[in-house]
């Protein structure tokens, strides 16, 4: 997919004297040899790199010399072998889009928190480059990793996984509409969401070898990002467990989920031990669906709100807890009260806390199973379930299991 506009202006870093040429271009020093990002080491010697801008942000700082606010660019570069943060002092005025491939000559390498970073200063010459200039990477050159071993900022690895879900999605990047392919990969060790900026014609069920992708953190969970530099190859589909085996789960103990930092797709089971506010009747902005307080949407100001039902249920299995947020249909079916009935009750006895109490009465103590994406935040695990069902305990089956366990250990302990 074309990322660069048809005409790419040749931007050159460094202060450009009015009517003159870039200073760095006249540098008498021989060009440093091109180096892969994975081989970068902090040193005084300048380097030459070719890489794609993965993320970019324009910021400002106060220059100590004259106290003036000056812009600089910062973000992430990747060449398929690794990704590094960059800082671009005195950048050109033109907008530089994410996805642009650049060649930087005479870049400086520093180290920050044990990782190399590059900075482009007045000596550095930055010019646009093309995909052909990026290093050719070979998947065998990357160490093998399983999904469970991936963390935010992992990169330079090789992965074998099955596509479990994939679908296109249109996103707006700057002024541009772009198509990304989002989905889910699984390898038996775990599941990871992916987002591909390039169309690899992926289909559910395929087994892949992926190299040169990187991991970022998205809503509290790692997400694999594929782009043009990533290598994607189909492998023998029998090398991985079948899709239904990767996706269907017995309920995962909540302590295990907490230790793993959540899951892209899982099933949890527990008793509802509490109902957290705000639950019951809530009012939302008609445009963005945000909860509205005092008729004021944080985004859209004074709005005519729409009533909705929700429940924030604390599910507890004795090993941990998860907050399960249910939407209106699920809340209605668990409560046995519809939105209209709730509004009617409110008209008859205008005390919203009675509604919340009634909902709590109905749900606390329920044994529920919920499925979906579980992600952590500052207060613990959260689930916006794709499915919720009340569970009937098979007490006789549980009794047989426990009896067998008892007979196996009784007298030993």
């Amino acid at each position: 997919m074309a990322i660069l506009p048809a005409q790419v202006p040749a931007f050159i870093g460094g202060p450009v004297p009015s009517g003159g040429q870039a200073v760095a271009a006249e540098s008498p020093i021989a060009e440093p040899t091109e180096i892969r990002l994975k081989d970068l080491r902090a040193s005084d010697a300048p380097v030459q790199i070719v890489a794609r801008i993965v993320s970019i942000e324009r910021r400002e700082y106060t220059r100590p010399a004259d106290g003036r606010r000056r812009p600089f660019l910062t973000g992430l570069l990747s060449d398929g072998t690794a990704s590094v943060r960059f800082t671009w002092w005195e950048p050109p005025n033109e907008e530089i889009d994410r996805g642009t491939i650049i060649r930087a000559v005479h870049a400086q390498v520093r180290e920050y928190q044990g990782r190399p970073e590059v900075s482009f200063g007045f000596r550095t010459r930055v010019t646009p480059a093309g995909p052909a200039d990026l290093p050719k990477v070979d998947s065998e050159g990357f160490p093998f990793r399983t999904i469970s071993e991936l963390r935010g900022r992992s990169e330079g690895f090789r992965l074998e996984a099955r596509v479990l879900r994939v679908g296109p999605k249109t996103v707006t990047v700057g002024a541009e509409q772009r198509l990304v392919y989002e989905g889910l990969l699984g390898d038996g060790s775990g599941l990871i969401a992916f987002s591909s900026w390039s169309d690899f014609h992926l289909a559910p069920g395929e087994a892949l070898r992926v190299a040169g992708a990187y991991v970022r953190t998205f809503r509290g969970r790692p997400q694999l990002v594929l782009d043009e530099t990533s290598l994607v190859a189909r492998i023998d589909t029998r090398r991985l467990p079948p899709a239904d085996q990767l996706l269907t789960h017995a309920p995962t103990p909540l302590a295990k989920l907490a230790a793993a930092g959540g899951s892209e797709s899982t099933v949890v089971e527990g008793l509802v031990v509490a109902l957290l506010p705000p639950s019951g009747l809530v009012y939302r902005c008609p445009t963005c669906r945000r909860p509205v307080s005092m008729g004021l949407c944080p985004q859209h100001g004074a709005v005519k709100t729409i009533a909705d039902l929700r429940a924030r249920l604390v599910l507890d299995d004795g090993t941990g807890t998860v907050t399960m947020n249910t939407d209106r249909p699920t809340t209605e079916s668990l409560w046995g009260v519809t939105l209209d009935e709730a509004l009617d009750r409110l008209r008859r006895s205008p005390d919203p806390s009675l509604l919340e109490s009634s909902l709590a009465e109905a749900v606390v103590g329920m044994r529920l199973r919920g499925g979906g994406r579980v992600f952590p935040d500052d207060f613990g695990l959260n689930l916006y379930p794709e499915s919720v069902e009340p569970i009937e305990v098979d007490a006789d089956a549980r009794a047989r299991e426990l009896r067998a366990r008892w007979e196996a250990t009784d007298g030993v302990a």
């Binding site: 103990p253 302590a255 004795g318 207060f379 007490a395 549980r398 008892w406 302990a413």
Partner: protein
């Protein structure tokens, strides 16, 4: 991170055996009750027969209610006050014994002679059906056995590192609790608790009611000094004395439950104890001692209740 405390699945017998606490550090730190059987709990989820609730406390502006939750391993007090309005409403809503589930925070009160009184400050109470009860007991039994296994393994080999415990999937919190249990209760007989859990198994199997005919002694009386008291004011009660004590309190509880004002009549109590083979003199002596220990009080002459 202010993570929510997990509701540990446990039984009255485990809470009543717990004599020690651990205070967390930092702002709004939680307090944990440490049991000899591998629990380090702040919040619990329990089930059993919840007795008729009674109001306690004298200030009508600060209502406070209490009931007793009995399961096959023992009995524990369940309280709810004005700070838990929903739990209090639930507790008061059914003026008769029922099968119930209780979620709440454990609270340890230590009497003058290292006697521990455990209560559960309820956050949520639900009347439940038999199947639901068996389900909760099945979870609680399986988890209690897992924790006991961990504790016993560590009691045999205290220096075993976590990765060699061979307990894949055991929550880190359980491993930590088991280590603490072994450290704090070096000489507790855990086999007795296992035996009590066998009754739970039979309830899960549907072979046994929650409370067998012979109710276990009330939990608050499991008097095991945490450390040897510096000066022993009197010899430890003999097995016979303890049996008498528990009979005394059983009868007391029964009379209190059956009374309208929440007190047991002293004369009636002495009469009933005679049926248990306790002389009037011995009963008086017992009462004196229990009053001294802060277990029983007599705020109105001739009218008794638990302190």
């Amino acid at each position: 991170m202010a993570l929510r405390e997990t509701a540990w699945r446990t039984f009255a017998g485990e809470l009543n055996a717990a004599m020690q606490e651990e205070h967390g550090t930092g702002e709004r730190a939680a307090t944990y009750l440490l049991s000899p059987y591998g629990a380090r709990v702040n919040r619990v989820l329990m089930a059993g027969i919840l007795s008729t609730p009674e109001p306690i406390g004298k200030d009508p502006a600060q209502p406070f209610w209490r009931a007793r939750l009995a399961d096959p391993t023992g009995t524990v007090s369940v309280t709810a006050g004005a700070f838990q309005p929903r739990a209090m409403a639930q507790l008061r809503s059914v003026p008769a014994p029922r099968t119930a589930m209780v979620v709440g925070k454990v609270h340890l009160y230590r009497g003058g002679d290292a006697t521990a009184y455990i209560s559960v400050r309820a956050e949520g109470i639900r009347t439940i059906e038999e199947t639901a009860l068996r389900g909760i007991y099945a979870d609680a039994l399986a988890q209690s056995l897992d924790r006991l296994d961990l504790v016993e393994k560590l009691a045999r080999e205290p220096d075993l590192p976590d990765d060699r415990l061979g307990t894949h999937g055991a929550p880190a919190a359980w491993v930590r609790a088991a280590r603490e249990s072994v450290r704090r209760y070096p000489s507790v007989d855990r086999a007795a608790y296992r035996a009590a859990l066998k009754n739970v198994l039979e309830v899960v199997e549907g072979k046994r009611p929650v409370l067998a005919a012979a109710a276990p002694p009330p939990g608050t009386l499991r008097v095991t000094p945490a450390e040897p008291p510096p000066s022993a004011p009197r010899p430890a009660p003999s097995a016979e004395e303890r049996a008498h004590e528990s009979a005394f309190l059983d009868v007391l509880d029964e009379l209190v439950d059956g009374s309208s004002d929440g007190y047991a009549d002293l004369k009636e109590l002495v009469q009933r104890l005679a049926e248990h083979g306790l002389s009037a003199e011995a009963a008086e002596e017992m009462l004196d001692r229990l009053q001294e220990d802060g277990v029983v009080e007599e705020p109105i002459v001739g009218r008794l209740r638990r302190a």
